[in-house]
Amino acid sequence: MKTLLVGEYREGKLLDSTYELFGFAGQMGAETALLLVGSDAHLPAYGGTLYLADAAACGEYRPDLHKKLVLEAVQKENPDYIVFVHSSYGWDLAPRVAAALKVAQISEVMALADGGFEVGCCNAKMRRSVKPATNRAVVTIQAGAFPALQPGGSPTIQRLAADGGSTVEFVGYEAAEKKDVDLGKAEIIVSAGRGIGKKDNVSVIAALAAAFGGELGASRPVVDAGWVEHSHQVGTTGQTVSPKLYIACGISGAIQHLAGMKKSDFIVAINKDKDAPIGEIADVLVVADVMQFVPALTAKVAK
């Protein structure tokens, strides 16, 4: 079995997530070849075949060009699987490749399953096992689901010409917003999720955070709705935190939220849904209405 792994570069640097592709290929027991739109200056520690297109000539991500390069490497390598990380790069590029080849795409694979791949569904509450019905398939792997593996060695390079237009023109990057709260240093974080119901209830969660002498955190929908400042958002598009105690109030536990807080020492979740996926990583899941439980807990802690 053969995999073509498509790694990721941004602004001249190889992203670490690229090594998770080798973790996946390792579990599959598959041979590998790697494709990068990258540069000779930052080559991966990998002793196999590397299809390399020059990022300086390509510019930052241009989907049509990247698709063309992947298809060229597929022609040469004839892989069974073409593998991406399920990131803003992977979920954008993978379906273009799958559609061009007219093969199955299996998105955001979390694990290998008997005869197929395991993926999450229903907001991570449930799982599906899926297998391709085509001889070749495109796979995107969930960030963090497979171990990062550095194969070591230096690659045998096959160069791909970086020419070709793109219907999507890259204009530029916009830097992340400045953070006025550094949740990374907080020892206790009490976070508000959509389950708090309305903006007015943020103060109830903030009061518990204050009683503990901790900081207020939030899930993304609470931030997007304008209930809490973005600087308090925890998750892949917010901050990564690892406090001694993390209390999740009315947060379901989507992968993008978990990615930002699962390294916390001790996690308490308050949720009225016993099956909420946050229960999979919480040390304590309190099945209750947050608006009843939190004020009662605050009163006790404040004493």
Binding site: S87, S88, D92, P95, R96, A98, A99, Q105, I106, S107, E108, D114, G115, G116, V119, G120, C121, C122, N123, K125, M126, R127, S129, V130, K131, P132, A133, T134, T167, V168, E169, V171, Y173, E174, A176, I188, F212, G226, T236, T237, K244, L245, S252, F266, V268, D273, K274, G279, E280, I281, D283, V284, L285, V286, V287, A288, F293, L297, K300, V301
Partner: protein, 258 residues
């Protein structure tokens, strides 16, 4: 200008999910359905553009699914879409993203749409594929995960969300498709007068068989709950007792309470 927005109806995700008889998807009995959250951002953005363009524009909303999806189409009409297309498919849940995208593309191919809006992913299936495949099949320029959108004179400028709060700005000529992410806008609630007005708007019904000839490219083997990993404690009962228990656990297991 002709605009299209594609929406999916999904179950309320706070429900309990049980496998269906075939064991490959959820059983729909007792589930309440509503519009996929990401598609609400798509509908809102399409309406904002429709309003900016004025009379020259027409906005169609499309959904593939059983008859229940008409509710989501009606909501979109009440929010401000001009007309709706229901691609009727009682077995839509067993179609893979390739088939759903093929049916949408078959519908759109001779309609001359300038911009298509979709959600970045559906909350139940979550493949994040349908929009991009539609664009590939139609030969549209395409950008995913947008949190900013602007249109002027044949050009779309969109802001893509990347990891760690960084954004990438891209420019595309129409025809173009964008997949919409949370935070793009705040979807409006339909007002009562608009709900009344929407009752006069047209909903065209097309059987899926008229549009779809493609076989699936992927097969679902099973639908099941996650294997329980955690040694976590689950506490239920009276709120007063719960508070006592949590305080005791925090004193025992952490150094944050003395």
């Amino acid at each position: 200008m002709k605009l299209l927005v594609c929406i999916k109806q999904v179950p309320d995700l706070e429900s309990r999910f049980k496998p269906d008889a075939a064991g490959i998807w959820y059983n729909e009995t007792d589930l309440a359905f509503r519009m996929n959250e990401y598609d609400e951002y798509a509908v809102e953005q399409a309406i904002l553009l429709r309003e900016k363009l004025g009379e020259e524009a027409e906005l169609t909303v499309l959904s593939i699914g059983p008859d229940r999806v008409v509710e989501a189409l009606k909501k979109s009409l009440a929010m401000g879409c001009d007309n709706a297309v229901h691609i009727q498919d009682p077995a839509a849940s067993s179609k893979d993203p390739w088939q759903i995208a093929s049916a949408i593309a078959a519908y759109a191919t001779d309609k001359g749409f300038d911009i298509i809006f979709t959600g970045m992913q559906s909350q139940d299936r979550g493949s994040a594929q349908v929009g991009v495949i539609v664009a590939e099949l139609l030969g549209f320029a395409c950008t995913t995960t947008i949190v900013g959108f602007d249109y002027d004179n044949g050009t779309v400028i969109a802001k893509r969300e990347l990891e760690g709060g960084i954004k990438g700005v891209v420019r595309m000529k129409t025809p173009a498709l964008v997949t919409c992410q949370m935070g793009l806008n705040i979807p409006r609630y339909p007002t009562l007068p608009n709900i009344m007005k929407a009752k006069k708007k047209e909903i065209v019904t097309i059987p899926v068989a008229d549009l779809l000839t493609e076989a699936p490219l992927a097969t679902t083997i099973s639908f099941h709950p996650p294997a329980k990993k955690g040694g976590g404690i689950v506490l239920e009962g009276d709120v007063g007792d719960l508070v006592e228990k949590v305080i005791a656990i925090l004193k025992d297991k952490t150094a944050v309470l003395r």
